[in-house]
């Protein structure tokens, strides 16, 4: 700023003063502070809004993945008395008394939640707790002053109270926090001494599921690369008139509702669908041996590839657009055959776009839920489907949350890589 045009005087110490008599330095600082505050005030509503309605839900989900307070809340006395038990033989009277009183006092809902959780540690807990709650209530109904012996009373209600393994399994749940759901996510669980053991054979499904999720994402990413790279190259090298027209083919699916695209694919892929009809008409396939292309692994792959292809084409295209054709011409002038020139000169320059596209497609693919749910059938299900299942159907929220946190962590790591490779700010929306 030109100081000469502004009427300025100086103080005795030689400091510059503004027109209203303040030192210039102070005045500038004030205005800078005000601008900082304005910027902050502009950003604040969005940050607060997003924190409350998005940040807190995600954090809350994380707490669910380690939370183990349901049993503690319902059975406080039991866990206090549990500390005294040596675990060698059947517990003595005080522990049975604590359990009896806890069951008597806890509400039906509390017992319901706790017993669901207890059932994850050892099956049959749920029925045992429900039966006990019912019978204890009946017992206290006929004899309100019942004061023991509690051990006999509980064993009288159900023989399982004599089974020491039930008591042992309580030890897994005595802390308010657990990593059990994370173990479950990888087909592991706590043994009764809190040692990590494998799940029983018939319950091991999650390792396969993670592997399948990874495999689907990798196959879809590679398919998108194989299909998308040449198209991006064509779009980047064609004259603008043609490429704009072809670009519509890429952008139209990108802009169309996900469900519409899935419906469209169902029409193509079903047994009586367009593709099978065409194949039968061309006599490539017999009418009775139509291909099963939907409700399985293949269906998930085909549909996800088409849906995610624009995410590959767009970043690769935008990088290729910046590669001058002069390099290829120079390489060929210097005697390189076209294939060598392409591989050694063009491809390396397009790699940043390829990196961006690959990471973007992979990240989006790994968290997919809708597509596998609708066209995946049984062997096309991904981790997202199981998160939804445990959240809505089996109500094992801890396990759903743990799987969600693992998935989120993987994605954040990939995004960090993405940020290092291309920078989040360069994200293109088409």
């Amino acid at each position: 700023m030109a100081a000469t045009s502004i009427d300025m005087s100086t103080t005795a110490t030689g400091e510059l003063l503004t027109a209203d008599g303040r030192p210039l330095k102070e005045s500038l600082q004030r205005s800078l502070r005000r601008r900082k505050l304005t910027a902050l005030a502009l950003v604040a509503p969005a940050v607060v809004f997003l924190f409350v309605l998005f940040g807190m839900p995600v954090i809350y989900l994380m707490t669910w993945s380690v939370d183990d307070t349901q049993v503690n809340n319902a059975l406080p006395r039991t866990f206090a008395a549990y500390q005294q038990w040596d675990g060698e033989e059947l517990p003595s009277e005080p522990l049975y008394e604590a359990m009896f009183k806890d069951v008597a006092e806890a509400s039906g809902i509390q017992i319901g939640r706790a017993s669901t959780r207890m059932n994850y540690a050892k099956s049959k807990w749920k029925s045992l707790m429900k039966k006990t709650k019912r019978q204890v209530k009946a017992l206290l109904g006929t004899d309100p002053d019942f004061a023991g012996p509690y051990k006999e009373a509980l064993i009288g209600i159900d023989k399982r109270w004599e089974d020491i393994s039930f008591w042992h399994s309580l030890g897994i749940m005595k802390d308010p926090y657990t990593l059990g759901y994370y173990l479950n996510s990888f087909d592991l669980q706590y043994g009764f001494g809190k040692e990590v053991v494998q799940q029983p054979e018939n319950r091991r499904i999650y390792k396969t599921l993670w592997m399948r999720t990874l495999m689907i994402s990798v196959i879809v990413t590679l398919a998108c690369l194989a299909l998308g790279y040449p198209v991006a190259h064509l779009l980047a090298t064609l004259p603008l008139r043609y490429s704009n027209l072809l670009m519509i083919c890429v952008l139209m699916p990108f802009w169309t509702s996900l469900l519409v695209r899935i419906v469209a694919w169902m029409i193509m892929l079903q047994q009586e669908g367009v593709i099978n009809d065409t194949l039968v008409w061309l006599r490539l396939v017999g009418d009775e041996s139509r291909w099963q292309m939907m409700y399985n692994f293949t269906g998930t792959i085909i549909v996800m590839t088409q849906i995610l292809l624009p995410f590959m084409i767009l970043p690769v295209y935008s990088v290729m657009k910046g590669i001058s054709p002069a390099y290829m011409k120079a390489a060929q002038n210097l005697g390189a055959p076209p294939a060598i020139a392409f591989l050694r000169v063009y491809v390396p320059q397009s790699l940043p776009g390829v990196g961006a596209g690959v990471i973007l497609v992979f990240i989006v693919a790994i968290g997919y839920f809708i597509t596998p749910e609708l066209v995946g059938g049984k062997d096309g299900q991904m981790i997202g489907n199981y998160i939804a299942y445990h959240l809505k159907s089996s109500l094992n929220w801890g396990l759903a949350s743990a799987m969600g946190v693992i998935l989120l962590t993987a994605i954040l790591i990939l995004y960090w890589v993405y940020d290092r490779v291309v920078g989040i700010d360069n994200m293109k929306m088409g």
Partner: protein, 295 residues
């Protein structure tokens, strides 16, 4: 396409293969969407091309599925499909939810973008990363977190909850597009307005907003389409009342796909083409306004 005269036969063959391959990929991208359109005009209640349609017999075509879509049940005579005005209700609900969510997201997002574009803000990168994080976190995780947390706020199975959740999803798009538009913004214009005595609000609406309008509108369009197409969140947060178009489609796909869904799909495809055109025109206008003529 004319190939250079010096190309060898091998190069010609290779080049043709490459063009055909690209054409096939582009075909793969648009073919399913194109196939939906004629099928939605079928007269038969099946989801494949009937022999009549292939012969272009006018008898084989009808608009009865469109009538069913808008709740005109006179077209439902011979069909087993239940006729209801659920599609209409869904469309109206979707429009209401998407409109309110878009207005909210655009207002909050534009303010944030204005703040972010000033260099005085400490931790700009961090704030930006946070504001676009709903795009990064998979929808299923966002939906799971909201499902558990919104229950505490009594927002599950309410319009307010769905609208707020959709605002969250739309916000990053507005922030991204408006920040991008502001990169080329000439701040001497607002300084000039300020020195001429306009109040900050007046200057914003009369000077700055018209110039960044293309970015704001295309951000708003992204936010709108995101909410209008959103299906994961609504499955978790929506109650019986919050029947949106995608949710009705989801239900339709899961139960039985009738050609009514194809009619809806066709309408949505046409809508997306219109939106795509609008955004493209806005982008060109924005580049012109910023003095970046398209190459």
């Amino acid at each position: 396409m004319a190939l250079p005269a010096y190309y060898t036969t091998g190069q010609r063959v290779w080049h043709r293969t490459y063009v055909v391959y690209c054409a096939l990929v582009l075909f793969f991208l648009v073919m399913p969407l194109i196939a939906v359109i004629p099928l939605s005009f079928t007269a038969a209640p099946f989801l494949d091309f009937t022999p009549g349609m292939l012969r272009l017999d006018p008898e084989a075509f009808s608009v009865r599925w469109y009538k069913l879509m808008v709740g005109d049940c006179s077209a439902a005579d011979v069909i087993t499909t239940v006729c209801s005005d659920k599609w209409k209700i869904g469309a109206v609900n979707s429009l209401i939810i998407a409109t309110i969510a878009t207005v909210l997201a655009t207002a909050i997002g534009t303010l944030a973008a204005l703040g972010l574009s000033r260099s005085h803000l400490a931790g700009r990168r961090l704030i930006m990363a946070f504001l676009i994080s709903p795009l990064i976190v998979p929808l299923i995780i966002t939906a799971a977190g909201m499902f558990l947390f919104y229950a505490k706020l009594k927002l599950v199975a309410s319009f307010a909850g769905v609208i707020l959740a959709h605002t969250v999803l739309g916000l990053p798009f507005v922030v991204i597009t408006v920040t991008a538009t502001l990169i080329g913004f000439d701040y001497s214009l607002t300084r000039a307005a300020q020195s001429l005595g306009g109040s900050p609000a007046y200057n914003f609406f009369k000077v700055q907003l018209p110039l960044i309008a293309p970015g704001v509108i295309s951000g708003a369009l992204f936010a709108f389409i995101t909410s209008f197409d959103e299906v994961v969140i609504i499955l978790f947060l929506g109650g019986a009342e919050q029947l949106t178009l995608p949710r009705q489609m989801w239900a339709g796909i899961r139960q039985e796909i009738s050609p009514t869904i194809l009619a809806v799909a066709t309408v949505l495809v046409v809508l997306s083409i219109l939106l795509l055109t609008t955004v493209e025109l806005l982008r060109r206008r924005s580049e012109r306004l910023r003095g970046l003529t398209p190459a």
